[in-house]
Amino acid sequence: MTEALIRIENLKMHFPIYKGTLARREVSRVKAVDGLNFEILKGETLGLVGESGCGKSTTGRAIIQLYRPTEGKVSFEGRDLCKLSPRELHPLRRNLQMIFQDPYGSLNPRMTVGDIIGEPLRVHNLAAGRDVQRRVQELMDIVGLDPRYVRRYPHEFSGGQRQRIGIARALACKPSFIVCDEPISALDVSIQAQIINLMEDLQREFNLTYLFIAHDLAAVRHISDRIAVMYLGKVAEMANGKDIYEKPLHPYTKALISAVPIPDPEIELQRERIVLTGDVPSPINPPPGCVFHTRCPFAFDRCRRDVPEFKEAEPGHFVACHLMDEPKRVADDVPGVAAAVG
């Protein structure tokens, strides 16, 4: 087994909500991320899926300290990033990069492509003068952009090309870890595949570790070695891609998988859907016990009371669900669900 590059322990990211102008006081908190424990292994792609508002992007940002977490530990190279001062963090940041969702909003429209890609090099004093330019052109070549366009501005490029600029920028200081926050969801189908392939190639070539955040389970399964499924600030289940799809244990994972349409009408015709009722509850006031119990078809008393522990149900397969202790309930209560998923 490979060693962990990043270890996350009890990571919490709460955003306070204030009221009042003069006597500003905290009235409540959005518990965007509420107690995560997992490892990201060297050289792997860890996929993070979940619906909007489940805290997956916040997790990514909290890990690379774009947000300073409320609580918890993020260990990287033997140091807890959460405890470091901004100054101590600065030299480490070149190892921790990010690719953003919106290829339009994440590039400064007033900077040329060359400036955008070269900026990290200057910030981290990795190159100066001519070397910056040389490296920028090299990077553009790597991500499949014509180096002749170095003086152009972001608006002169298409969405897919802009995403390549963002990728080149993330690669500039030879990071070991990249958080990819929905890097393909703003792109057209035919362009998505180009970017996915590019990311796979780069990973192999530069030995990168990815945290791949997306709501598209099919894309996540394609690119990831392991997948963590998030729901309302917590990881519901985590395992390798095959197990998540073939042997999902958490009822939410099962519902999520059954909800993803498969581009094959004959398969679609035979599939049974577990259609969840209702919406995701508010993270300001998450339900007590298991956060999923309000929508879970199998919920019983204990789910409403106790928070399920995130533990290893099978080797390498983690899940937070009380049903693991009472396997009979799944089979008895709602027949046919297991079959529908498989």
Partner: protein, 396 residues
């Protein structure tokens, strides 16, 4: 059953909507954007027609033109016919169109947030179409609207009826939109990416709902989407659009099993499938969609096509008939159809078939230019340069 023109039930045969050679152009800054360029299709009674394409393929504009909702200027219908209920909607007066829209043809938009009026209670917005189109009294309309909300699965419809749109979640708002669209029991429902803004579990709820309602009301549905998965689950028949033109039309099973257009093949190969998992690399479509503001002499897909021949670049292909209901606009449609490059084909099989297809003389441009990491992708001579500067540079 609000209309009488649909009276003789020639089941399944009479199309609800027939579009012939529709052309919608936008005149922008001296150039003509051919958003929809000679599109013909039919929607049969009770069927669900899927319209697939990427952004800018004209799939939405095409359907919006059907309803006469193209902003004009800059948009303009440059030709064609849209036959609905025996009338050409393109020639209909705005008064006539108003009687049809929201009554006999309804639309569900992509973004439920911006298509409901935030200042008006949901009740007011729901009652309005009934009062206008069906001359209902307020009380009667109210009752009917509440029933419809219940039907689309909004819990506590009576209590929520007088709330404002912002008090509903995204999925619930989309349900309100659907309720609104179905109030007058339309013959045709046009759904423009109805689930794109929603989460997958909510998407599943809404798609199930549309399926159920189709059964209950017998409404024909046009489902516009870029998601092949959604099409696979919903559509009976599919048209694939690219650069304002129809590339292929087939029933859903045929399209996914034996596509007959390189673009369809390309789309199928470039989406990851959840059930197949990490089954090898995706095979993307190189390059990117053409600029439709410049005339394209041949097939608009030719520059990105793996199997393009020289004539593909100069002449738009004629319709190739590949059996009942299956047609493709491709010079090599037969070959591709025979190669069976459906969604279940593995990469190995694909490459084998591809080698055969390429044959000796068909070497698409740039086929040999696929070096190291990622080149080859998306590298046209110019990025989207603002038209003027690039053009003038060339001219000089």
């Amino acid at each position: 059953m609000a209309n009488d023109s649909a009276a003789p039930m020639v089941e399944d045969q009479t199309p609800v909507l027939e579009v012939r050679d529709l052309k919608t152009y936008f005149h922008v800054e001296g150039s003509v954007v051919r958003a929809v360029d000679g599109v013909s299709f039919q929607v049969k009674r009770g069927e669900c027609l899927g319209v697939v394409g990427e952004s800018g393929s004209g799939k939405s504009v095409c359907q919006i033109s059907v309803l006469g909702l193209i902003p004009s200027p800059p948009g303009k219908n440059e030709g064609g016919q849209v036959i609905f209920g025996g009338k050409d909607l393109l020639k209909a007066s705005s008064g006539e169109l108003r009687k049809i829209r929201g009554n006999r043809i309804s639309m569900i938009w992509q973004d439920p947030m911006s298509s409901l009026n935030p200042f008006l209670r949901v009740s007011r917005q729901l009652i309005e179409p009934l009062q206008i189109h069906q001359n209902m009294g307020k009380e009667q309309a109210r009752e009917k609207a509440i029933k419809m909300l219940e039907k689309v699965g909004i819990p506590g419809p009576r209590e929520r009826f007088d709330q404002y749109p912002h008090q509903f979640s995204g999925g619930m708002r989309q349900r309100v939109m659907i309720a609104m669209a179905l109030l007058c029991e339309p013959e045709l429902l046009i759904a423009d990416e109805p689930t794109t803004a929603l989460d997958v579990t909510i998407q599943a709820q809404i798609l199930e709902l549309i399926k159920d309602l189709r059964k209950d009301f017998g409404t024909s549905v046009v489902m516009i989407t870029h998601d092949l998965g959604v099409v696979a689950g919903m559509a009976d028949r599919v048209i694939v659009m690219y650069a304002g033109k129809i590339m292929e039309e087939a029933n859903a099973v045929d399209l996914f099993r034996r596509p007959a257009h390189p673009y369809t093949v390309g789309l199928l190969r470039s989406v990851p499938r959840l059930d197949l998992g990490a089954s090898g690399r995706l095979i993307p479509i190189d390059g990117r969609p053409p600029d439709v503001s410049k005339p394209i002499p041949g097939c608009p897909f030719a520059p990105r096509c793996r199997w393009a021949e020289s004539r593909c670049h100069t002449e738009f292909p004629p319709l190739a008939d590949l059996g009942p209901g299956h047609s493709s606009y491709c010079w090599r449609a037969e070959d591709i159809y025979k190669a069976e490059l459906g969604s279940r084909v593995t990469n190995a099989q694909f490459h084998k078939a591809e080698a055969n297809l390429k044959g000796a003389e068909h070497v698409p441009e740039g086929a040999d230019a696929a070096p190291q990491v990622a080149q080859a992708c998306e590298l046209p001579e110019t990025p989207e340069k603002p038209v003027q500067s690039e053009e003038s540079g060339v001219d000089r």
